[in-house]
């Protein structure tokens, strides 16, 4: 349970989980919604996988992530988002130039 709390404590990781609520996504599709580097995002994925909140499925060269929240964890996520500070999900891909800067 400590791993779950640690995973849900970070707004970026909560943002990833909120995205995956819509549908399973590849790492690239998730990355488009966050203005952080891919290695940093990979670290977040690792924490979420360690907490067993997401599942990764390799299909060829791409990895597709699927949400794996129990009802209690889902409720904790909603509570953390309501009380904590979340990342607004614009759903708009950031241009490569602005990401690099």
């Amino acid at each position: 349970m400590n791993l779950v709390f640690k995973a849900l404590a970070d707004p970026t990781r909560r943002g990833v989980l909120q995205l995956l609520r819509q549908r399973p996504m590849t790492a690239g599709e998730i990355a488009e919604n966050f203005a952080i580097s891919k290695p940093t995002l990979s670290a977040h994925f690792a924490i979420l996988r360690e907490a067993d909140l997401i599942e990764a499925e390799k299909q060829g060269k791409t990895i597709t992530y699927r949400l794996k929240l129990s009802v209690l964890e889902d409720a904790l996520l909603s509570f953390a988002d309501t009380v904590g500070v979340g990342i607004p999900l614009t759903g708009i891909a950031k241009p490569a130039r602005s990401r690099r800067s």
């Binding site: 399973p24 699927r66 929240l69 129990s70 009802v71």
Partner: protein, 222 residues
Amino acid sequence: MIDRRALLISVALLALMLGAAAWRVALLPDWTHFPYYLPDRTLVERNTLWLLVAPTCVAIVAGIFARNARRAVASPRAAGPWTRWGNTLLIVYSAICTLLQAFILARSLGLAPAIDPTAVGRIGLVLLAGLLVVSANVMPKLPLVQWRSKRNLDPARLGQLMRFSARMQVLTGIAVMAVAVFVRLPVKGTPIVFAIIASSILVQFVRGWQMRREQAREHSGS
């Protein structure tokens, strides 16, 4: 999904319940009613059909699990977690129903006079509802499986429906537990429990139907 071992255990418990009920009824002059001792040692007559309630519940649940095991299309990697989940759920459920049946038969024989049957009913209901809450809570963590059906949902919608169903079942379990603890059983509580369970099943069914219709519209539109 369940494996053969869990099915055999639940069938064995089912046979035990039916055998014990048949044995009790065979000892009676009138097979349509059996004696039942209330806590104040008053003897009342109960319809023999009550002895079939627990076995019927186990038979229905075991049948549903066995049917789902045949209909599911799952890789061995996906089937494993579902089988473990189904086995635990079915065996614990069958055991609780067997204990309740044993209590009814014990009361019929005049045994365990000090135990309040309403309290046993409440405890049984709380245990069953708690089993529902615990099993539904982990359901969304299990791998997605499809069915031998032409109307399967895509993975995105299937995941959403599974999460929705799990939430509904957890809420149903919590509501039933609350009724078992706070409402007078069986007069007022039993219809409320049935209404809660029926509403939950209906809502889940409607949500699944809505999602299939949305998917069909998307496919026909594209």
